[in-house]
């Protein structure tokens, strides 16, 4: 209940941080999709690249966020202190589920379907756009869904590098021994994750109907 009182007294700040949080997640997930989906498609065309690239995405997932920030701060263009560094880190963390699901989705398309496409004289490009991607869309989308939900949670770490977001309350609460502050950050982040999951779940079901 202290949390509600806190929100009433700080509504502007809460909304501001919530907005920052949403922007961090949206921008980073969009970039991760823009990189991850083509990368996943590439892996289905170049099987030799599968192990090194998925291995790299796996390794990225294990880098502690503070260490990653430490590496990024001195770098020009993608580093520094603020939202840019946080977004780079969030993209790195979002890549794995997107790349992996894109690859898996396309690879698990029924070979008979693919063959019949080829039999109809489709080029590789046509096969990809007209057969494989539509059939794999559900799996690809569920990868994006997982990446988004994880992103909502991980974005709280952006507060460690001056990028704001709901993590600000969590960091502040931890540093001054205040449960209310921690909850004030953790609660909306959790609700946001649920909302994102629910919303993307609805979209996913539409894919499934096709």
């Amino acid at each position: 209940m202290d949390v509600l009182r806190f929100y009433a007294a700080n509504s502007r700040e809460v909304l501001g941080l919530l907005g920052e949080h949403l922007v961090l997640v949206l921008v980073s997930t969009t970039i991760a999709v823009a990189i991850g989906v083509p990368l996943g498609i590439l892996l289905t065309r170049r099987p030799g690249w599968r192990r090194p690239i998925l291995g790299f995405a796996n390794v990225c997932q294990t880098i502690p966020s503070l260490a990653l920030f430490g590496f990024l701060i001195p770098l020009p263009f993608i580093g520094g202190v603020g939202a840019r560094t946080a977004i780079v880190a969030l993209v790195v963390y979002a890549l794995l589920p997107i790349v992996r699901n894109t690859y898996t989705g396309i690879v698990s398309v029924d070979p008979a379907v693919r063959e019949s496409g080829r039999g109809m004289g489709m080029t590789d490009r046509e096969l990809l756009v007209m057969v494989e991607l539509p059939l794999a869309a559900g799996v690809i989308f569920s990868g994006i869904r997982v990446a988004t939900v994880i992103g909502v949670g991980v974005a709280t770490i952006a507060a460690a590098v001056g990028a704001g977001g709901l993590g600000v309350y969590i960091f502040r609460g931890v540093s001054v021994v205040d449960d209310t502050l921690i909850l004030a950050g953790a609660l909306p982040a959790a609700l946001l994750a649920l909302a994102a999951d629910g919303l993307l779940g609805l979209v996913e079901r539409r894919f499934a109907w096709r």
């Binding site: 503070l66 001195p74 202190v81 931890v174 540093s175 021994v177």
Partner: protein, 320 residues
């Protein structure tokens, strides 16, 4: 303490059966009468589960880990009790919770931090009165005992790059206030939100930066300052990194910060059960001054030596 009392009371209540039970090697089987329920049982059980092991905690930075290791080894050497370590816990918050719940038996706290962050007093008074105030209140509220301080003061170091300090002739925080409007600051969350943190400092010195200070992880502020991403940070004065990264601390010429003397905080019950712990800790009193603490921190952070080894060497040399 609670354990002994309870066993005594239980004996009065239900006679020989319990008495025999308590003579068995595992006193856990002692059953107090129904009156004293969950809390007592919990205390008894947890004491039994841990036996005589002393658990030393530490906050999540090098100095705290290192001091905890020194304390732990000193207890092992002098008392012969088994000593567990729960190091690098998530800051004041977690250590404070852990010692109050009995998950750890002692950790090293700083007087100014306890005074302002835990007890919520506003900063100000002199060294002696802060130590006295915290030890009195800790003992009264939570049965926690402040033993004698190590002898150094780890205050906030308002730090700038050495090159900037030299070229602009910065020596004190008052000097900084003159040029602050052209500078950017990056501070840890703790410093930005503590009662003895940035707000009071800004008021005391009339500090105003070009933008509101960037809030970020404390460890990352050092790197951000060294890389020129920010111009001012608030580090720790005994930190080994300051010198290594060519950073310099400005003097608190208006004496804004309270003293931050490091001392072990111990659960009173442990001291009563094991008087040897008190004696072992007393030997550490006043043995580490500011320069010595900086040197020890640098051994760990700059030379990357193993904490256990640093602690062992230091104890062997200082308290043979």
């Amino acid at each position: 303490m609670a354990l002994n009392n309870e066993r005594g009371l239980a004996r009065d209540g239900s006679g020989g059966r319990v008495e025999r039970a308590s003579e068995r090697p595992r006193a856990c089987s002692t059953r107090p009468p129904l009156l004293r329920l969950s809390l007592v049982a919990l205390v008894t059980l947890s004491s039994c589960a841990r036996g005589d092991r002393i658990v030393v905690g530490a906050k999540n930075f090098t100095e705290s880990d290192l001091l905890a290791e020194i304390v732990a080894q000193q207890l092992e050497r002098r008392t012969g009790l088994p000593v567990g370590r729960k190091l690098h816990l998530g800051g004041t918050f977690v250590c404070d919770r852990a010692i109050k719940s009995g998950d750890i038996d002692l950790y090293v706290e700083y007087t100014g931090t306890a005074y302002t962050a835990v007890l919520n007093h506003s900063p100000g008074p002199s060294a002696d009165s802060v130590y006295q105030a915290v030890s009195e209140e800790y003992s009264r509220h939570w049965g926690l005992v402040w033993t004698a301080p190590f002898g150094f003061n780890n205050t906030f170091a308002i730090a700038v790059r050495q090159t900037a300090a030299d070229s602009l002739g910065l020596r004190t925080i008052s000097d900084l206030a003159r040029i602050a409007p052209q500078w950017k600051a990056g501070f840890g969350y703790e410093f930005l939100n503590r009662a003895d943190g940035f707000t009071g400092l800004a008021t005391t010195y009339g500090l105003k930066f070009s933008a509101p200070p960037t809030a970020m992880d404390l460890g990352l502020t050092y790197r951000a300052l060294a890389e020129g991403q920010v111009d001012v940070i608030a580090g720790n004065s005994t930190d080994g990194q300051l010198e290594a990264l060519h950073l310099v601390a400005l003097e608190d010429d208006r004496h804004y910060f309270p003293p931050y003397e490091a001392a072990p905080v111990v659960r009173g019950a442990v001291l009563e059960r094991h008087p040897a712990v008190q004696r072992a800790l007393a030997e550490l009193a006043g043995k580490i001054d500011d320069a010595e603490m900086r040197r020890l921190n640098a051994l760990a952070d700059v030379e990357h030596r193993d904490l256990r080894e640093i602690a062992r060497d230091w104890l062997a040399r200082t308290l043979p």
